[in-house]
């Protein structure tokens, strides 16, 4: 199965230094929270961006979901701060 596409917005994007990247697809029952914990272990921008998961929100295939959702077979996972509207 294809890699998982991650997209980042706002200060998450800035901390990581890129607006998207491909990562190796985890097992379908791995949650978003578990995935970003693994990514944070890379250190650097990922560690900074994912240090406080309570400040993060996520969308799977353009739908808001809780961080504890399993990634399943989604093709795009977005990680970002709470939205601040218009």
């Amino acid at each position: 199965m294809a890699d998982l596409k991650l997209v980042y917005f706002a200060w998450v994007r800035e901390a990581i230094g890129r607006d998207e990247e491909q990562v190796e697809r985890p097992a379908p029952d791995v949650t978003i929270r578990a995935l970003i914990a693994v990514l944070a272990e890379q250190g650097g921008g990922h560690a900074e961006a994912f240090a406080q998961p309570e400040k993060l929100r996520a969308a799977l295939d353009q739908r808001f979901v809780p961080l504890d959702s399993p990634i399943g077979d989604a093709t795009e996972l977005a990680i970002f701060p709470p939205v601040t509207g218009g």
């Binding site: 997209v7 917005f9 706002a10 200060w11 970002f80 939205v83 218009g86």
Partner: protein, 149 residues
């Protein structure tokens, strides 16, 4: 008539109102959001999630159409760099019933402010800062989970 635009360009509220007035309703309600220039703000920068924004706004407009008897809905949301005094967002609604037009307009703007995938960064002369989400906006939007008045 339902029309949604997510755009960098400015818009003309007058033209939008004319179109809504022509939809045959008894009332047209509108809300225009303007960048406030407080605390030395030089510009606001709006980032959004294009693949998600339009789909989300379409969904919430559909919800408004289910809740209220609307003849027309117009939503415009800008992104990019906006200076104080510039328009950010427009919601216009037309209905035979004034309460429906007003309530649907308030519902849509509350949702856009609290749930649309936009992030704002404030630029001041000497620094920039991402705006933090306000619990108050969430509370406004959650209020609509109750049946409309």
């Amino acid at each position: 008539m339902t029309r949604i635009s997510i755009q960098a360009e400015d818009f003309d509220p007058a033209a939008e109102l004319m179109a809504l007035e022509a939809s045959g309703g008894g009332g047209v309600a509108s809300f225009t959001g303007i960048v406030r220039g407080e605390g030395g703000l030089v510009a606001l920068e709006l980032e959004h999630y294009p693949a998600m924004t339009s789909a989300q706004v379409e969904r919430i407009v559909e919800e408004a159409l289910e809740r209220w008897p609307l003849l027309g809905v117009r939503v415009i949301h800008r992104y990019g760099r906006l200076e104080p005094g510039e328009r950010i967002v427009f919601v216009g609604t037309a209905s035979r019933h004034r309460a429906a037009a007003l309530e649907a307009c308030a519902f849509l703007i509350d949702w856009l402010k609290s749930h649309a995938p936009f992030w704002k960064r404030e630029h001041f002369a000497d620094r920039t800062a991402w705006v933090e989400a306000r619990a108050e906006d969430d509370a406004k939007a959650e209020g609509w989970l109750k049946p409309p008045r």
